[in-house]
C-alpha cells in the first residue's frame, strides 16, 4: 500500500540537511516498528521518497514523503505512533493512503508556498506594503542566469504563481519541482535589487508552508489531498 506522510520541521532541525533527514526517518520507521516495505537485493532499503528537499536553514509545515507499507493501522493511530518516536521538532500531520497507481510526490510536484520574514526587521529600509506591489506589477521580472552553456535570461514573473504581503513578511507561491524550481531567496534577491539594495546571506527567515501538484484541470492540489485517510 502506498502512503503519503506530511510532516513539519522546526527549530534547530533546520540545521539538519536533507540526506540526514532521510537517515533520520529510516531509523524512526524502525523505532516505531512501521511495517514498511523493503527493496529486494543484497542490501535492502526502505521504499521511501521525499517530495522536495528542504534547504538548510529553512523550517516547514508542509514536507512530504511517500512510503510503501505491507500493513497499517488507521491514519489517526499511525500519526500518534509516529509522533511518539519523533524528536519534538519533527511533527507528523497526515498519513494517507494513495491509489496504487499514484506517482510519487517527487515526480509530480509543481508549486510550493513560502512565508518570508526578515531576520533583522529594524534594518529594512523598504515598505513592503507599497514596494512589493510595485515590484510585482511589472510585466516581466527578467534575471540573467549563468549556466554551464553561458548566460541566459529567465523571466521570474510567470513562476511566481501568487504573492501577498503579510503582517510581518511576505507570502509566496512559487513554481517548484525538478523542471523549474524557483527559490524564494532568488525572488527576494531580485526584489532587493529592485529596491537598490543587496540581499545579505542571512537576511531572510524562510518557512515552507505547503507543496502542490497539478490536478487534471491544471489546478494546484496540496499533496496530502491526493490521498485519503485510513479509517
Amino acid at each position: 500500500m502506498k502512503v503519503r506522510i506530511k510532516f513539519g520541521k522546526y527549530g534547530e532541525l533546520k540545521f539538519i540537511g536533507h540526506l540526514d533527514i532521510m537517515r533520520y526517518f529510516q531509523k524512526m520507521m524502525r523505532r516505531a516498528d512501521i511495517d514498511i516495505k523493503y527493496s529486494t537485493g543484497y542490501s535492502p532499503h526502505q521504499i521511501m521518497s521525499f517530495a522536495q528537499p528542504l534547504g538548510l536553514g529553512i523550517t516547514s509545515d508542509g514536507e512530504y514523503m511517500d512510503i510503501e507499507v505491507d500493513s497499517t493501522k488507521p491514519s489517526k493511530e499511525m500519526i500518534d505512533l509516529l509522533n511518539t518516536y519523533n524528536v519534538d521538532n519533527i511533527r507528523i500531520y497526515s498519513y494517507r493512503e494513495l491509489p496504487d497507481n499514484a506517482k510519487t510526490g517527487m515526480a509530480i510536484i509543481a508549486a510550493a508556498d513560502y512565508e518570508v520574514r526578515f531576520r533583522y526587521p529594524e534594518k529594512i529600509s523598504f515598505d513592503l506594503k507599497s514596494d512589493w506591489p510595485r515590484f510585482m506589477e511589472r510585466e516581466h521580472i527578467n534575471v540573467t542566469k549563468t549556466t554551464k552553456s553561458g548566460e541566459s535570461e529567465v523571466d521570474l514573473k510567470p513562476l511566481i504563481f501568487d504573492s501577498h504581503v503579510m503582517e510581518d513578511g511576505l507570502f509566496l507561491k512559487l513554481s517548484c519541482g525538478s523542471v523549474v524550481n524557483l527559490k524564494p531567496e532568488v525572488v527576494l534577491g531580485e526584489f532587493y535589487k529592485f529596491m537598490g539594495e543587496e540581499l545579505g546571506e542571512f537576511d531572510l527567515l524562510l518557512h515552507r508552508k505547503e507543496l502542490y501538484a497539478r490536478g487534471d484541470d491544471g489546478e494546484l492540489i496540496a499533496l496530502e489531498d491526493m490521498g485519503r485517510d485510513i479509517e
Binding site: 531509523k27 535492502p44 524528536v87
Partner: protein, 642 residues
C-alpha cells in the same frame, strides 16, 4: 519548541555540519539544569562524529542521567572552522544539550582515548574559559577529571587535571559525586581544596596536585642525591604523596559482574552519520592473549565476559530504541569470547535481514567465521583480515602473537576456496629486536599468501588476488612488557618502510600486492606523550599556543610546532623514545596499579628478548597479578592458578 542555542544562525549556517553543535538528538537527555545537585559535562576531545561513536561515553552518560538530581551533558571539540569563529568573537564553549557554557558545570569529565588528542584538551579548556592548569583554578571553576586508557600514564597532562579516574567508571563515580555535593554544601566558597583532598581517598581517584615529583639532573651524579647508576641520569628520583592521607599507589577500578551493571538501552542517535553508526554490543572486557606490545591487553585484565542472555536481550532493545540498521560486536579479541558462535548465530538468524545488517568484528579466520561472513557480507566486495603484526615467526614469538604462518596461510586458503580474493594484513614495524630479515619477512609472507591463491586451478579462481599489507610504527606503551623498550627514530622507521617496500617490489606476485605505511612524525610524537612525564606539560601548551589542535588529523598536524616546542623545553626524542630503560628506573606511571604487576612485565620483557612465547590465560595462567581483583578468567574452572 524553540531551544535557545549558544550560536546564532549566521554561524551555524556558515560552519561545516552545524548538527555537531545543537544537541537534541534522539534519546538525548534533557533535565532542568538549575534544579540539579550536580551538572556533569562529558567531553570527548575530538570531533563530534568520533566522540558520538564511543561506547564508554554512552555508558557513563546513561549512568549519570539515571541518577536523581544529576545531569550529564556532552561537549566535543569544535572543528577548526568553528574554533576560529569562537576565538574571533570570544564565544565561550558550551555543552550541546543544555547549550550552557562549560564554566557553569560542576564537573568536566574528559575521556582520554589517544595521546594525539592532548592539544584538544587544552582547546576545550581554553575555549571554555577554564584555566589550563589545576593550580590556577578557583572556587568558580568546574572540577576537571580525566578517564580512559591514557590515564595509565597521565603524567604528561597531570598539571591540567584536578583528578583522574583510574579504571572503569561504573564503580566509584557515585561516591565521588556524593562526596562533592557534601563538601560543597558544607563549605560553599571554599570547597575545592577540601574536595580534592577527600577525593584522593576514594579508590581509583588520583589527584595529581597532591604528589611531588623529583628528578636526577642530567649528569646524574651531582646534587645531594646522586643517581645510583649513570643510566638514571635525568630520570625520576622520587614520586611521593605530599600528605600522609594520600595513597602512594592507586589501583584501577574494575567491574566484576558484567551482567548487573550499567549498559545503555537508549543510546543517543546522532542526526549526522557518526563514525560508528550502529548498535555496539560489548561482549567482554579484557583480552586473554598477552601480546607484548598491547596496552589494552594488559590494563584491562582480567577478561570478564557478558552472558549470552544479557547480550541477546540488549541486542533487541538497542535496535528497537535506536532504529539503527546495523549491529556489531565489540571487544579486544572477539574470537576468544566463549559464546561467540551462539551470539553470532543468534544475530544472523534472528536479526539479520529485513533492513538490519550484522557487521562482524574481525574474527580469527576459520570455517566458522568464513561461514557466517558469507551469510552477512558480499564475498565479492569484502576482504578477509589478518593481523600477524610481524613478518617472521621469530618476531611473532618476540611479541607473543600466537598466530603462526600456517594459521594465516591455511585461513587464507579456506577463504580463497570459499570465494574471497581480497586479503588485508596488518603489521607493525620497529618492534624490539627487529632485523632487516623480519622487515622483509612482511613482503615474503604477503607473497606466500598470493602464491597459495594461484595454486587454485584457474577455472575455480575468482580473478586476481589482491593483498593489501599495512604497517604502522611501533610505539612502546606503559604497562606493557615493552615499556622499557627503545623506540625507533623517525629515520629508522622510514628506512624500514623503504626496505619493506623494496622487498615487496621483488616478490613474484608483486602486481597483486600493495604495501602502505603510516606517518612516522605522529608516531615519534605519540612515543614521547605515551611515556612522558610531567616535564612535557609546558611543551604541550607551547605547541597548542602555536596553533596545534586536532593532531590526530593529518590535515591539521603540524610537526614543526612540536619540534619547536620540544626544543624550547629541552624535550628530546633521544631521552623519551630512543633509549632502553633499565629496570631500576622509576617510571612516571609506577605509582599506578593495574593488577598486572611489574615482576610479570619484567619477566615478559626478558622472555621477549629470548623470543619465548607465553601461554594465554586459558591455556594456563602465568600469574600476571590481575588475579587480585577476584574475578574474570582467572577464576574460570579450568584455569588453575600456579
Amino acid at each position: 519548541m524553540v531551544r535557545k542555542l549558544a550560536l546564532p544562525d549566521e554561524i551555524l549556517l556558515k560552519v561545516e555540519k552545524p548538527a555537531r553543535y545543537i544537541g537534541g538528538e534522539v534519546n538525548a537527555v534533557n533535565k532542568n539544569f538549575d534544579e540539579m545537585d550536580i551538572n556533569f559535562c562529558m567531553c570527548f576531545p575530538d570531533v563530534y562524529e568520533i566522540g558520538m561513536s564511543h561506547l564508554g561515553i554512552q555508558i557513563l552518560y546513561d549512568m549519570f542521567n539515571k541518577w536523581d538530581k544529576v545531569y550529564c551533558d556532552r561537549v566535543y571539540s569544535p572543528w577548526p572552522d568553528l574554533d576560529k569563529i569562537m576565538r574571533d568573537r570570544d564565544i565561550p564553549l558550551f555543552a550541546v544539550e543544555s547549550q550552557r557554557p562549560l564554566k557553569d558545570f560542576d564537573f568536566l569529565g574528559i575521556t582520554l582515548q589517544y595521546e594525539m588528542c592532548y592539544t584538544n584538551i587544552l582547546q576545550i579548556l581554553d575555549l571554555g574559559k577554564i584555566p589550563l592548569y589545576t593550580a590556577e583554578r578557583t572556587e568558580d571553576d568546574p572540577v576537571i577529571i580525566g578517564g580512559g586508557p591514557c590515564t595509565y600514564n597521565p603524567e604528561p597532562i597531570a598539571d591540567f587535571f584536578d583528578l583522574f579516574y583510574i579504571g572503569e567508571g561504573e564503580t566509584q563515580y557515585k561516591n565521588l559525586l556524593d562526596l562533592y555535593k557534601k563538601i560543597k554544601d558544607e563549605n560553599p566558597g571554599a570547597w575545592r581544596e577540601k574536595f580534592l583532598h577527600a577525593a584522593a581517598q576514594i579508590p581509583g581517584i588520583y589527584v595529581p596536585s597532591l604528589y611531588e615529583v623529583e628528578y636526577y639532573d642530567k649528569a646524574g651524579v651531582e646534587g645531594d642525591n646522586p643517581a645510583p647508576m649513570p643510566e638514571l641520569a635525568g630520570t625520576i628520583s622520587s614520586f611521593k604523596p605530599k600528605f600522609d592521607f594520600v595513597p602512594a599507589t592507586i589501583r584501577k577500578e574494575i567491574v566484576l559482574d558484567m551482567d548487573n551493571t550499567y549498559y545503555p538501552e537508549k543510546p543517543v542517535v546522532p542526526f549526522i552519520r557518526a563514525t560508528q553508526d550502529r548498535v555496539v554490543l560489548e561482549i567482554q572486557r579484557g583480552c586473554i592473549r598477552g601480546c607484548r606490545f598491547c596496552q589494552a591487553g594488559m590494563v584491562y585484565r582480567p577478561v570478564r565476559e557478558r552472558s549470552l542472555e544479557f547480550l541477546k536481550d540488549k541486542a533487541l532493545k538497542l535496535l528497537k530504541n535506536t532504529g539503527h540498521e546495523d549491529i556489531t560486536l565489540s571487544s579486544l579479541s572477539s574470537s576468544d569470547y566463549s559464546h561467540l558462535e551462539e551470539i553470532v548465530n543468534y544475530l544472523v538468524e534472528n536479526i539479520h535481514g529485513k533492513g538490519i545488517n550484522v557487521s562482524l568484528p574481525s574474527l580469527r579466520i576459520d570455517a566458522f567465521s568464513l561461514d557466517v561472513m558469507s551469510k552477512v557480507q558480499d564475498i565479492k566486495k569484502s576482504s578477509v583480515t589478518f593481523a600477524p603484526e610481524a613478518g617472521t615467526q621469530r618476531m611473532r614469538n618476540v611479541i607473543n602473537k600466537g598466530l603462526t604462518e600456517e594459521d594465516i596461510i591455511h585461513g587464507a586458503d579456506q577463504a580463497f576456496h570459499a570465494g574471497w580474493n581480497r586479503v588485508k594484513l596488518y603489521f607493525m614495524l620497529g618492534q624490539p629486536t627487529e632485523t632487516n630479515e623480519d622487515v622483509e619477512g612482511i613482503a615474503i609472507l604477503a607473497d606466500k599468501i598470493a602464491r597459495k591463491y594461484y595454486e587454485i586451478p584457474k577455472a575455480e579462481r575468482n580473478g586476481k588476488v589482491q593483498i593489501v599489507a599495512s604497517s604502522s610504527f611501533f610505539v612502546p606503551k606503559p604497562f606493557t612488557p615493552f615499556q622499557w623498550a627503545r623506540m625507533n627514530s623517525k629515520e629508522e622507521f622510514l628506512e624500514k618502510a623503504k626496505i619493506c617496500r623494496r622487498k615487496f617490489g621483488e616478490m613474484l606476485n608483486s602486481k597483486s600486492l600493495k604495501y602502505n605505511w603510516h606517518e612516522s612524525d605522529v608516531s615519534v610524537l605519540e612515543g614521547v606523550l605515551a611515556r612522558g612525564d610531567r616535564r612535557i606539560a609546558p611543551a604541550l601548551v607551547e605547541a597548542y599556543r602555536k596553533g596545534s589542535i586536532f593532531d590526530a588529523w593529518s590535515d591539521y598536524f603540524v610537526f614543526d610546532n612540536w619540534l619547536e616546542a620540544f626544543a624550547k623545553y629541552d624535550i628530546t626524542f633521544e631521552y623519551y623514545n630512543e633509549r632502553e630503560r633499565v629496570f631500576e628506573e622509576l617510571l612516571p606511571w609506577d605509582f599506578l596499579d593495574c593488577g598486572v604487576n611489574k615482576r610479570f612485565l619484567q619477566l615478559e620483557w626478558n622472555r621477549a628478548k629470548e623470543a619465548r612465547v607465553t601461554a594465554n590465560c586459558r591455556q594456563g595462567c602465568s600469574g600476571c597479578g590481575a588475579l587480585v581483583f577476584g574475578g574474570g578468567v582467572c577464576f574460570e574452572g579450568k584455569n588453575k592458578v600456579r
